[in-house]
């Protein structure tokens, strides 16, 4: 999700089945985003990489 505003994400589970790098759910450049009652899971084995891996990532967000 990018450049979003006034968004609520709720009551959802996210299964990423292998995040290769950075975030599973990535929110870029957004404002007034609420994430509640959610689950973030990556059930795949951790790959042998040097990248950060995150279930939820906010970047350049103004209000989360």
């Amino acid at each position: 999700m990018n450049n979003a505003s006034d968004v609520v994400v709720e009551k959802l589970g996210f299964e990423f089945d292998a995040i290769d790098r950075f975030g599973g759910v990535a929110i870029y450049g957004s404002k007034r985003v609420i994430v509640r009652h959610c689950r973030f899971v990556d059930s795949a084995p951790t790959p042998l990489q040097s990248f950060d891996r995150m279930g939820l990532m906010g970047m350049a967000a103004r209000t989360m």
Partner: protein
């Protein structure tokens, strides 16, 4: 100062928000079918409705690409994008979802009692993100 943006965001959950069920747009939620385009179409319709909207995902497992709610002027790889950035929208499942775990791995978000309680309720919606 802080209350204003939160109030605006929560306005999307008010009763007068239009609800757009992704299954009305062809999403299967069967854990096998790629529902990216259906969810994108539902999100587009909700986003273009001109007011607060709720993108509703009923119980099920939805397979999506990693960009169903993304808007951009660029379109690398031909992935589906929205017409405009998401605004004033609630993306909602049906209940607090249980922890999803594979057969051999414990994810450890909740204790066993909580997991069992949520499993009995059995009304969760899950989104499985598939990447290429």
């Amino acid at each position: 100062m802080i209350c204003i943006p939160i109030g605006i965001a929560l306005g999307a959950t008010a009763g007068w928000a239009k609800t757009f069920n992704v299954k009305d747009y062809g999403a299967k939620g069967d854990g096998k079918t790629d529902d990216t385009v259906a969810i994108r179409n539902a999100a587009n319709e909700a986003n273009n409705s001109g007011g607060p909207s709720t993108l509703y995902l009923p119980k099920g497992v939805y397979i999506v690409e990693n960009l169903p709610l993304t808007q951009t002027h660029k379109n690398p790889g031909g992935a589906p994008f929205l017409d405009k950035p998401v605004a004033n929208m609630t993306v909602a499942g049906t209940a607090r979802p249980r922890v999803f775990s594979s057969a051999n791995r414990a994810c450890g978000f909740e204790n066993l009692d909580d997991e069992q309680r949520l499993r009995r309720r059995g009304r969760e919606a899950r989104v499985r993100v598939r990447r290429h």
